[in-house]
Structure formats: C-alpha cells, structure tokens
Symmetry: D2
Subunit: 357 residues, 4 copies
C-alpha cells in the first residue's frame, strides 16, 4: 500500500450477496464511489440526525413527489418523526389531497400524443396521468373549505393545518396532510398561491370578497421563530425550488434576530439539478455555507439522484435500522391552538421575531 495522507481508506468493491437488507446495501454503497457513496452517506447522516434529540429536522419537498408515488413515504416520515417540519410545493400537497379524497394518479407514458390527452382532459406529469375533471372537483372542494374559515388572514401553515383537519374528518385517509394534522407537524407552503391549492383559494375569493387571505409573511416570521426555539436544525431537501430556499431563509432570518444561531448541523440534499447554471435548486451545500445557512462543521451530503429512487430506499433502511432511535424521539412536540403553533407547549409567534441578545 502506498503511503500518502490522501490514500487512507480504500474503496471496498460492492459485493453481491443474496438477502441483503436495504440498510446493508446502503452501508456497502457508502464504501464505494460517486453517487452510490453519497446515497450511503445520506442514509448515515439522516440516521445521525435522529439521535440528536433537540434538533428540528426540516424536510423540503419540491417536484411532483405525491403524484409520483412518494406521498406515503413522506407521510410515514412525518408520522414516525423522521422529520419535524415539512416545507412543500403546493403540488405535492394538492396531489396528496387528491388521493386522500379517493382520486388516483395513473401509470402513463411520456411518449403519448398530448393533443389527444388534452381532448380527453387527461393531465400529464411526465409518465403519470390524472383526470382533469377530478382536479376540478378538488379545486371546488378547496374553495368550499376555504369559505368555511372565519374571514381573516391565515399563514399557509395554519391554513394547511385546518385543511388537514377537514380532510381527516372527512376521509380518515392516510397521507401527508392528514399525518401532519394528527401530530400538528407544521407544513409551510411558501408559494401556496402558485398551485392548484391557490386556484381553489382564489375561487373562494371570487365567491366572497373577504375570504381567502393567505398571510405568507406570517410564515416567514413563524418559521424563523421555530428555528430560534429549536436546539439546532437539520435539513433534508428533495429537489430545490421554494422549499429549499424557505428552509435556508428561515436560518438566515433567525441569525439576524438571534445571532447565536448557527446554520444547519446536518444537511442532506437529494437533487438532480447542477450548480453551474447559478440556480438555487442546484446550489451546493458549500455555497449555502457562505451564506451561513449550513454550519461550517455540518455533516452534509448532496446526492445527485431522483428522489423516487433515493427516498424509498433510505426510508426503508431507516425503518429497519432506526426504529429504536425513533422511539426515543417520539412523539412530535407540537400542538395547534387558536391558530397558533405550539412547540413543547409554548406558542411560536407568527407576528414578531423572537430576538435574543
């Protein structure tokens, strides 16, 4: 073996054996190279987050992961406290609601005539189809629900909490919104108006002028206060988009009012965007460090892989290996009361930043 400080830990070629469990596959991947290694590291880092008790673990979910079949994985992660707070696109929540209400998404193909789909009112998401008619019904349902709310501004978090409540009462179905409702796990949706949920809300406004006020500024304040109230933060980000930025912005804003706050202690991103076009979605965790979003000594890893491959594999492995750890974390520390989010019994303000010396 050549002697060099750079040549310390050999790559261990992956050895195929029958009966390997997913956690063993991931452990072996960690000893090889490229994105296999990164996937193995991501599993280990997420597992370590779970042992860091006072941590708030943010999950960012962009893309169309619910339509794509991951809604129950995310719901599972919420219900079992693999994560403490979800930041999502509206699409993921809308498609979750669609299935909770009994709708389905369908196995389709990207090699289809879209003009024909349009005529038959089928909406396509890459290789997945859905009925536009059912989507219109969802929009109406959301509009009707919105009109049941007392006419005042709602943060997206509070709005989604109440939406989850209604959905649970009406359907008793598993899903992201219902799981989050049941444990009062906060969901933020920074671009809620820019989604079919927003379309339903706008249709409520159309029907009643004083309805449907979403106070997205309250989300900014409350999420920063959640960071300040936590004993540290971690992020698991699937894709980029507004969820990734919102989670990081909460840190930056928290640091402004409470300078002792550090960046994330752990950061995992599972992403298919690349950094060299300058977009936030593909930006590296090193770049995030320059902004103070990620702590300099954070355990961090970026996996360049589709979440529909990476997430089921990692969460399946956590489910087998981390059950004991997870039990020590549970239950979720949240409650909702009169519109406020409570963490460990204490209200998190959505009106003013919590300042610290």
């Amino acid at each position: 073996m050549p002697s060099s400080r750079f040549l310390q830990t050999p790559v261990e070629p992956f050895r195929v054996e029958p009966g390997l469990a997913p956690e063993e596959i991931l452990a072996r991947l960690e000893r090889i190279s490229f994105q296999g290694r990164n996937l193995g590291v991501a599993y280990r880092v997420w597992r370590r987050m779970l042992t860091d008790r006072d941590l708030t673990i943010f999950l960012g979910a962009a893309g169309a992961l619910s339509a794509g079949g991951l809604r129950l994985v995310i719901a599972h992660a919420i219900a079992n406290r693999y994560v403490d707070c979800l930041v999502s696109t509206g699409a993921n929540l809308y498609h979750d609601l669609h299935e909770a209400r009994g709708g389905r998404h369908y196995i389709g193909s990207p090699r289809v005539n879209d003009a024909t789909l349009q005529e038959e009112r089928i909406d396509r998401v890459y290789d997945t189809f859905a009925s536009e008619e059912e989507f219109v019904e969802n929009d109406n349902w959301i509009a009707e629900f919105t009109l049941t709310l007392e006419p005042r501004p709602y943060s997206s978090r509070e709005f989604l909490y109440r939406l989850g409540e209604r959905l649970w009462e009406e359907t008793g179905a598993e899903g992201i919104l219902t799981a989050a409702y049941r444990d009062a796990v906060p969901i933020y949706c920074p671009a809620i108006a820019d989604s079919s949920i927003g379309m339903g809300i706008a249709q409520a406004r159309h029907l009643r002028a004083d309805a449907a006020h979403i106070d997205v500024v309250a989300d900014v304040i409350e999420s920063s206060n959640l960071v300040i109230a936590s004993g540290g933060t971690a992020s698991v980000v699937l894709g980029g988009g507004t969820p990734k930025n919102f989670i990081n912005q909460a840190i930056v804003e928290a640091e402004y009012y409470a300078p002792q706050i550090d960046g994330h202690r752990y950061a995992v991103q599972i992403v298919t965007d690349v950094p060299h076009f300058g977009g936030a979605s593909g930006s590296t965790l090193d770049e995030a460090e320059s902004w103070g979003k990620v702590a300099t000594d954070a355990a961090r890893v970026t996996v360049n892989a589709d979440a529909t491959i990476a997430l089921p594999l990692i969460v399946s492995a956590l489910e087998s290996s981390a059950a004991a750890i997870r039990r020590e974390r549970a239950p979720a520390p949240y409650q909702a009361s009169e519109g406020a989010l409570l963490r460990a019994g204490r209200a998190i303000s959505a009106a003013r930043f919590d300042e610290r010396p």
Copy 2:
C-alpha cells in the same frame, strides 16, 4: 437525393464568415441541429410574437439572472416591449434593487473556501460574490419602504409597482423594477415571501403589526383576468420554478372562467432542467399541451441552454432585426391607478374572475 417524406429539408452546415451579425448567426443555427437549431427557432418564434399585435407576452424569470448579469437585458425587454408582463422569483428583483441602489455583484469563483467567505460575510451565488452587509442594508430599506405603505393587503404586483416607483424616485437608475414602473408593466412574484424581499417585508411586520400584508391570491385572480382581457398569450420562460408555473396557471384558471380561452399561441422555454425527473421546471411544452397551457397548434420550442448564453444573444439579434416591428407594438398599454392595473384604460380586477359565457 433519396425520396422520402422524412427527408425534405437538408441541414445546412454552419459556414463561418467574418462579420456575421447575431441575427445572421441565429438564422444559420436554425438550419443545423440539436440545441443550436432550437436557439435559432426560439429567436424566430419570439420575433413572430412581436408581430402578433394583441398578444400579451409573458416573460418568466427564475434562477439568479440579475446577480448573473442579465438585469439590463430584462429591463431592456420590458422598456422596448419585447415582453408585456414579467413573472419573477424574488431573487431576481432583489438583486436588481441591490444594483439600482448602487450595490454590485462581483466576479468570483466556485472554487473558493466557503468557510472563509462566511467569515468575511461574502455571499456566493455559484461564481459570483456579494456583500452580506449590503444585503442587510437592502433588507432594511425594503422594511422602511414597506412601512410607508398604507396598511392594507397588496398584491405582489401592486407592491412591486410601488417599490419600483420609490426606487425610481430615489435612484433614477435603470433596471427591471424601474423599467416596469415607468411603463406600468406588471411584475408578479408568486413566491415573494420566499426571498430577501420577503425578509424585508417580514421585518416591517415585526416593527408594526398591521403592516406588510401581501395578498398572493389577488395575483392569481388579476393575472387570469389579464389573460382573459388579452387577445391571446405567449410565454418566454427562462428556467422553471414558480414563474413558469404561475404563467401557465393563469391560463388554466382563465380557461375555467372563460372557456373560449386557448393555451399560449407561442411558447419558448430556455431551460437546463430535464423532463424525466417529473419536476415542473423541466417539463416539456408537449406536457403543457395536455393541460391546455399551450395551444395544440402553438409555435413552440425548448432550448436546453443557460439563459446567460441564450438571452443576450437572442435579444441582441432582436434589437437589430426587430426594431421596426417593435415600434409598431409600443407603447405598453398599462397604467396603474389607485392600486389597480389598467390595460388600455380598463381596470383588471384583482378581486373577482372575469367570467365569459
């Protein structure tokens, strides 16, 4: 020459000559293959949009294009009516404001120690640096500006109009916000809270509880009504993200209330995302057709290229070749009055959808 319906138009190898103008380069690219061809087609399609008089041309701008050096190209496109409405991330507008206020972005490198940058309070956007201190000043400036507004809800469009107004009065500087203000060209920012502009707004709320209400639902309604009021629409989308979705959602929402509305007649997207991971940013214009976002017979093209290459080249070519066309389009048909957006003297409602039989 073999006879086949598939073999009709030969590729014309690009021929290098001294003194080629950008419009000639693009015309020659259209006769070759791959993304060069698509770039040439994009130029031609955009040029054709300009001749379609009653059209509303949406420009979607994701990424960090202002920090990346494209803010004056976008401002130029607004001022010269290459586009009629901008939908943008907050980042693009914030970095535009930063430079309008005298700040700069700096040539940097992705191969730098980010821990050092963090210590020196330098924020990195891939290969570009900025001063965090100056960013904090901007945030404060935005907070102060926000506190000058009468305390009521503002659509992002109205908020940004007033922000542009203040910026123009204070600086007289070129830029996106000031150009849009001067011609009352609407800017929508669907995820405004999820940006440094949102941070500034939140800081205003912190200072005064009744300040800083952004009514993102009003944007949804007003933008759909803008579609309904137009004689057709076109989209030029740089990157994906919320701008791309918002522009398309306005069509879908408009179709709900005014079924005679068609999808975009012209659609150009300049994007580096790919479709096969199912995200909206990389979704094809064919997929958009299934949703009715793009008309079945629309002139459409996707260019897989970085906007920092494609946009300066196309707009430079338009500037030389389309000056006459552009003059026939001008001036912009907008006014702002008491918070409302007027198009050709008629107010576009932000409160109710305009229904048509």
Copy 3:
C-alpha cells in the same frame, strides 16, 4: 374512478415497511413514477432476459465503474451468467487489473487541491484517489505481458482473454478479467488503445517493433458473428460511450450480412446523459429502433440514474430472486481455443462475416 383508456393502472404509493428485501423494493418502485418506476422496470426486464434461454446478453460498461467500486458486481454478473458478453472501456478493465494485482482505489473528495495531488502523484477520479506510481507499475506489467505474446495481431477479445489468464495464474484474484477468463466469456474493448491498457501495449511496441498488434477490425467481425450465432440478443448498458455503440453496431453489421437478424429483444440502459444534445451516449432506445438496433417490440427501458446506485440494487435483487432461473442458464457456452472464440463448441470467425440468405 374516471373512465378513460388512459387511466387504467393506478400509481401505488410506495409503502414503507421494515424488512423489505431489495426485490420487493424494486417491485414497489415499478408501481410509482419517474426514475423509480424505470429502475423497477429495468429489474423486471433483466430478470425476463434470464428466462429467454438462447439469448446473448451484452453488458456495456462505460465510465470508471471499477475504480468506483462496481468491479465485483460486474464480475459476479459474468460468473453467474447474468450477462454473456462484456463490452467495456479500457479504464474499467485497467482499474480491475489494478485491484486484482493488489492495488486499491481510495475514498477521496472532489473538493481537494488538485495541484497538491499532482505534486504527490495522486490521480483523482471525481471522489476517488489512486497512486500514480502503482499505475506506472501496472503499465509496465502490461507491457511485459504483451511481450510474452507471440508477435501477431490480436483482437481485443483475444488479448483480454490472455491478459485475464495471466492475471488469474499470477493472482488467483476475483475480478472482471479473471471471471471472464475462467468462463471464456468474451470481453470486447473497442477503444483499447485509448486507455492505460493501450499505454502499456504501446510501451511493449516501443521495446519490440513487432509486438503489440491489436486488430480492432477482428472485434467488429467476431462480435457480429456472435450476434448471428445467437438466438437473439439483449443489451444492458451502463453509461454510453464506445461500449453502447459497439453493442449496437454489432447488430447493424449482423443485419447487413444476415438480414433475418432483428434488433435487441430486450434493452436496458442506465445512463445519466440526456438525448437532446445529440450524442450517442444519451440517445434513446426509440432512436436506436430507427436504426434497427432495438426490435420494435422489444422490452426496453432507460433509467436515468448513476450506475453506482442502480447496478448494486438490481443485481442484489436478482441474486435473491433469480437464483433458480440463473441455474437453468448456466454454465457459459464459451471456450477459447487457439485464439478463437467457441460458442457451444463452434468457432466464431473473426476473419469473415457469417452470411445468411
């Protein structure tokens, strides 16, 4: 459920459970969307190939998969007849030889000062390091081995067979070259000179003018005859590059001399390149159909994923689920005799194409 021919098979959201085996994970992924679905399909298609007895399954391996930790997965696939013929870059074979001879690759990082590595004579492959000194020893070993060969032209297949023989005799080590040698499974390396193996061979030529003649044209003929002699073909391609093209070219060439030959009956590609830049590596299996490389009714799938994630997972699942099937296939039908490749006892010509009416 809405009635439409497009809405037949619902996406089944992935359900997390403890103790899922890899084959169960892949079966569930097949029911979701995007690349997770494609990975599940790839597993099923490969499994089906194994039941199609008279098939020749080509494995194409580009990239730096051996340095990256996959050499024993590929060796396992050869030894257990998951594949019947390997087409590889020289790099994969060279790095396999390096480890068979006792060298290692090392866990490194892409965020390192490459000037320092250069000074310390460490060669980097993304996140993996190796000793240049050891590489120089390998080159010399290859040169010495080459000089032991009778001075005449060798196809890359024959050269590599003899290299594997020497390696097995000298080291008795597991690996790609030794596994292929032991079952006489042919390895073609279309760009053998363009690799460190080629450098070693060139150094032999330097030492003796009549040494080291590689007859790459013989590979073209022999591989086409292998197709003609087979009862059908399938391809599993990791990455693109020369291996992908060589496998497909063998079909096209075979069709020229034996027009009854069809394209691959099954085709799996695991690739991170995209089609829209026109390169062969990212080209779709549909495009391959236009050339006759893939049969019109072939079972086919492209997985956009890194092979270091996809291959260990699929082969682990095959190992558990396909053991019985595999036993029916074994053993490999090849022998090597006097430089010729024998399939089922019959020599495959490397000198003339086998013509059929």
Copy 4:
C-alpha cells in the same frame, strides 16, 4: 463599495445594443456570470492560444457534430489553423464523408414514430434524419477504398489521411477530411473500428483477409511524439468520449518518456456532461491537473453548453477578431511522406517513443 479581497471586479450587466458583433457579445459575456461568462472566457483563451506560436492545439470532437451541422466549422478551423490536430469519433468523420460525397442530413424531429422510420430505412440522430441506403453506399465506398491500400497496418491517422486524399480527388468537396488532407493536419480516431468507418473497413477484411489492418497502437506512440516535438500543447475539447481521453493520454504518455513535458498550457472544454457521476467525459480540468494532463498554471475553462451553440459563436468571433493573429500562425507545419507524419520537415515516429533525458 465594500472593501474585501473577494469583491474586486464587479459583474457588468450585459447591455443590449443594435449591431453588436459576436466578438463584442462574447467580450460582454465574459463580464457577467455562469456559463455566459465561461463562454466569454473560452473565446479569450482560444484567442490567446493562437498567439502562442510554437503550440500544438488539439481539437477533440465527440458527439455527432458533423450530422449536426458543424463539419464546415471544424473544417474551417483546420484550414485556418485555429487548431493543429484533430481527434475525433468515427461518427464525425463518417458523416463528413457522407456530405462530401454528396449525401445530406435532414431536419427531423425527436417526436416521431421510430418504428415508421425503421420501416422506411431512415436513421435518426436526435432531431436529424439520414437515409440508411446512402449510409450503406458509404460503407461500400469505404470498403472499396480500403481494398485499394497496400495490405499492411495503418495508424488511424495515416488511414484517414489517405481517405481524405481519395475523397478530395474524387469530390473536391469542402469538409473535415479534405481540409485535413490538404494541409496534412493529422486526424486521430482512437475508436475507429467502433463506427461506420470501422464497418466499412471490416467489410473490406471480409472481402480480402490481408486487408484492413488498423494499428491503433501506432496512434498512441505517434501522438505522444507529436506532443514531445511541440513547444507546448493546448486542448479544445467538444464533448468528452475517446477524443478527450486520447488527447490527455498523449500528454501522460509523453511525460513518461520525456519528463520535462508539462500538461496543456491552455485548456477549453465545451461539454454538457457533469463531473459527479465519475465519467471521463464530464471530468473537470482540475481533475485533469491531478493527472498532469493540464498544467497547474494553465489558462483553462469549462463551458457547460451544447457545442452547436458555443462553437459557431466562438469561431465566428475568432474569424473577425483573430484574422491577423491567424495569419502569423499559418501555414500548417505538416507533411505526409511514405506514411509518416512530418512536422516542420521532421518525421514523427509511430514506432518508438522519443525519449528525452
């Protein structure tokens, strides 16, 4: 302006003006960010190469650039000495030959039924079509040409020189092969057998057993000696593949025999592959530095862009701006004599490496 060593050179927003020449566009792009900046830098670096008189500039061309419409750009670069040596895939040379012989490629579409194309014998390269029948004629032409050669081994360089000669005599057509023949500019094709040229050569072998010996090992030796004979090297690489590796391998091999040799002094790569999957095509120029392929102080830049956009733009700009410089470089210093490559009148050995103390 904030004072920091990191904040020295501001980004200059691109300013649109009528009548900008391509060299002015590129100069302005160099002052912005992301890939626009890199494209501007690439232009400047290539321009600087031309002033470094004793340099050998390698051009690597992967992909299907000739089918894609760039064959005359490459031919122009050869004829005008923007480059001194071409390393190419067989595809680029084959498609060049196809057009030189009067065939064409055709504007097609990736959204077509490939089964129909297959039936009509149309071959597709992404959005470009060609006639399979014409391709078969080319193959036969190559086979016939090959049979005219004296039966002995030929390096790919010598084979292609003679092919260019025949093509020029027969067609007098512009193109890569004919331009290279006329100035004796060497073309290496490391994977020549893995292409339709290889298919034609193999068909010659089929017809006559002693024909068609390609000595790829001679290419390795001769190209390294070309490096040793040069006063320094530079590389411009379009895509990755075998051309990229071959150019770099020539440096590594040269360093082995002539240790005073440094890596490339200038390196430009225009690529759409990314580094994080570990493949050579996407590998960074920093990684190349670790191997000694690129000098530590080299002027280097990677542009993440499709060559069909980047190359016509850069060469058009060079054509206007660098005409004077270019004249000082010309003419090409090569001759071909009895199969040998002469540089400045002195034969470059293809049989033994030139050693230096």
